[in-house]
């Protein structure tokens, strides 16, 4: 895969994620972690090759069908991508509104989720008034609010302290236990090692390691 006429950012990648699995994507900056996630959440297309998701080749998916597939994918962006003119509650409820749900059917769930990620007292708050960690938790709440089949997270613990990082990780584990496939791109080697979850390690756009990483591995 390449952006425009630029160099290849991902090459010779072949792997499969089992439904309900939990993986980390690791690697140095520029290794292609975010690009790999973009391929899966349909923000980029492979220059060559196939990307299968939920039994479909998403690189050849008709444009009209893409929105419905995206609703099954939760994404936590590295830069959060919260809508500044919407309150925390409105931001979190966004995927459910887009999916056409009636407010009465989901508003209590949204409130409960926000309380769970520690934003009980910040539901009215606008994103500009939230601290970095609060924004991150809000972005996570928005990504998981519609119980996606797969959750992709780009550095989800990058702006939070250790305690909150572990809490977010436990949220991901809980979602995974409920059947959501999880793929997290991270630099947090400590979290990866302690989780005992398999790792896709990228370097220079290629996958150089695939498997469980023990705590001694760098």
């Amino acid at each position: 895969m390449r952006y425009g006429r630029g160099p290849e950012v991902l090459k010779d990648l072949t792997f499969e994620l089992e439904r309900g699995s939990f993986h980390f994507v690791t690697g140095p900056s520029g290794a292609g972690k975010s690009s790999l996630l973009k391929l899966i959440y349909l923000a980029a297309k492979p220059t060559k090759g196939l990307v299968h998701l939920f039994g479909q080749d998403i690189s050849r998916l008709a444009v009209k069908d893409q929105p419905f597939l995206r609703r099954r994918i939760g994404v936590v962006f590295q830069e959060f991508r919260l809508l500044e003119h919407l309150s925390a509650f409105d931001n979190a409820a966004l995927p459910l509104r887009i999916a056409g749900g009636r407010p009465e059917s989901y508003r209590d769930d949204v409130a409960e989720l926000l309380a769970w990620v520690g934003l009980r007292h910040r539901m009215h708050a606008m994103p500009a008034t939230l601290a970095g960690g609060e924004k991150q938790r809000l972005a996570i709440a928005r990504a998981v609010v519609n119980r996606p089949d797969i959750l992709l997270a780009d550095e989800p613990t990058g702006n939070v302290d250790h305690e909150m990082a572990m809490r977010i990780f436990r949220l991901f584990v809980e979602l995974n236990r409920l059947g959501t496939t999880i793929l997290i791109a991270t630099h947090d080697q400590d979290l990866v090692a302690r989780s005992g979850r398999p790792v896709l390690h990228l370097e220079g756009g290629r996958m150089v390691r695939h498997g469980v990483q023990d705590e001694a591995q760098p």
């Binding site: 419905f68 995206r70 609703r71 809508l83 509650f89 407010p103 209590d108 009215h124």
Partner: protein, 297 residues
Amino acid sequence: MSEMFDAARWKPAPFLPEADARDGALIFVVAVLSFLACLMALAFVSADRAAHGWAQQLVGEATVIVRPKGGESPDAAAARAAETLAGVPGVSEARALEREKAYDLIRPWLGDVTDLEDLPVPRLVTVELDRRNTPSAATLDQALKAQGLDGVVDDHSLWLKDITRAAWAARWLGGGVFLLIAGAAAAVIAFATRAGLTARRDVVEVLHLAGAEHALIAKLFQARFARIAAVGGTAGALTAAAVGATLRMAGGGEGLTPALPIAWSDLLVLLPCPVAAALVAALAARFTADSMIRDLQ
């Protein structure tokens, strides 16, 4: 404050920000362009009517120059010509111009001559014609000759050609300038829409990645910019209507605007302006949003 949040009373906020500092500038630009387009439309309608009126006036009249022959006096010859012409089918009325009026007509060329009576000044007969059954100049000429009268019939055809040509030019010029301004308005709206969409690219991307259908995103921007353009178009049309009404009240055809007499009914042409501006903006926003969403694929 935070404990006060009651999910049961929550009302979803609009996907797009309610207002934007850029909206005011866009409304102003659309209002100015709509105002100019409306003024041009008013000028076009009144010019068209004026030209039509001039042409109708010329078609409905003819002038006959009567030259007395033999010992007949000019006044007697003119009276006989008027009587003859009044009997021609298609002539509503024929009237010999009074001697004083005939002198008045030639006085600018001859100066203040006191003994005009000694000059062989021809007499004029004005003929009003039935517009549905207008006799030709040749028919009038034959009628005069049959009565032994020497006259030259001027059915204004020479002037009519010039007037018709001038009216045609005025119509096309007015229409062309109107289209030019309307096109400029459309281009500005399209440009502003693109700028507005680019400024809200973050919203477009988040909605897109959260699974919003393309039609939903395009409709949001379409409605937003159509509303802005409708407000600008209404302001422009109202201002133009106020200017038109002022010109009408200040004299209409006999006052400030003798060449372009504005009628009250002309103001009706301004009614579609807000709708037209909204339509142009909606189309521009739709095309722009569609192309931007395609780029996100």
